[in-house]
């Protein structure tokens, strides 16, 4: 087994125990993230049930093209992330860096597009608060829809920003040769986090953008 970067922390008996523990720890963190976002999904579900017409209107006000592109971009970034982990498993330093950078790029594109969407919403007075103004029916509940839109996508975007930050640190570490095929836990664990953020969007996209477009 390559000794290289497989430093085992003092509390662990061996590299295997360390890797298993770190992995379980990350999964537990993701499980609590499921419940964190889950609370938002619960609120959304309740209000979608209560105000189906207003939420239908709200969904149709969202820009499906941008949302769709973002979905493709984010899933693509999951692919590049998986390929970064793959490269790490094979100890290919340059490939790790390249795939991580690709993931950062795609993540940034996603955030940029969200910025565009948010700007449009602001221009159309659809940001909840004193500036909100909607001409059609159910205006109050349409505002409720947009509250959830902004909190849910905003919380998701915050998690992506954190993810991009983590990826940047990984790029630095990979460039410095800290990973090889015996030790690449940080890459793998960040990958789990990134895929989780992707999964949240996989549910956000249809629930926010798609329901209600069948009329």
């Amino acid at each position: 087994m390559a000794e290289a970067a497989a430093v085992v922390a003092h509390q662990f008996d061996d590299a295997e125990q360390q890797r298993d523990s770190v992995s379980l720890g990350m999964w537990l963190f993701l499980i609590q993230e499921i419940m964190f976002f889950g609370g938002l999904f619960l609120g959304y579900t309740v209000y979608r049930y209560k105000y189906s017409e207003a939420f239908r209107i709200g969904s149709n006000e969202l820009e499906l093209a941008w949302g769709g592109i973002n979905t493709v971009v984010l899933i693509f970034s999951s692919l590049t992330m998986a390929l970064a982990v793959h490269a790490a498993q094979l100890g290919k330093r340059k490939a790790i860096v390249a795939w991580l950078l690709a993931t950062i790029l795609l993540g940034s594109v996603f955030l940029g597009i969200k910025g565009i969407e948010y700007t449009h919403k602001f221009e159309h007075h659809l940001v909840p608060g004193p500036g909100f103004h909607y001409e059609g029916s159910h205006a109050r509940q349409v505002q409720l829809f947009f509250s959830f839109y902004f909190v849910m996508t905003g919380m998701h975007a915050l998690h992506m920003v954190i993810g991009v930050g983590l990826l940047a640190v990984l790029v630095w570490m990979a460039q410095a040769g800290k990973f090889d095929s015996a030790y690449y836990s940080p890459v793998e664990m960040t990958g789990l986090y990134w895929h989780f953020v992707d999964i949240v969007w996989i549910f956000l996209f249809p629930l926010l953008y798609l329901l209600g477009r069948d009329r």
């Binding site: 889950g38 498993q89 992707d198 996989i202």
Partner: protein, 105 residues
């Protein structure tokens, strides 16, 4: 290290390496499913629209979890933990919604 009947490629810490082709196939499937869910949303299925949207999203999430997150190649312990997370979410949503659904009864 666990012994397997069919030798699978592993890295130097003995962990399974997923072939790139498989990743690309999963990516392709996710793209197809995205297109399907957008199309299905434009078809009026009444209350089934929600069900279809959630089923497709669930399928996409499952693919990401099993392959991109390597759960398919992980110990059963990981499966239990992941399952528990989603089960708890389901409990929270189901019991809360039962309140709203039954308010009028």
């Amino acid at each position: 290290m666990t012994q397997r009947a069919i030798p699978l490629p592993t890295d130097e810490s003995g962990h399974h390496v997923v072939p790139v082709r498989l990743y690309l196939m999963i990516f392709g499937a996710l793209m197809v499913l995205t297109a399907v869910t957008v199309w299905a949303a434009t078809v009026n299925l009444g209350p089934l629209n929600v069900v279809v949207a959630l089923l497709i999203a669930g399928l996409k999430a499952t693919l990401v979890i099993l392959y991109f997150m390597h759960v398919r190649y992980s110990k059963p312990q990981v499966w239990i933990f992941v399952g528990a997370g989603f089960l708890w979410l389901a409990i929270m949503i189901t019991l809360t919604i039962s309140d709203y659904l039954s308010r009028g009864w």
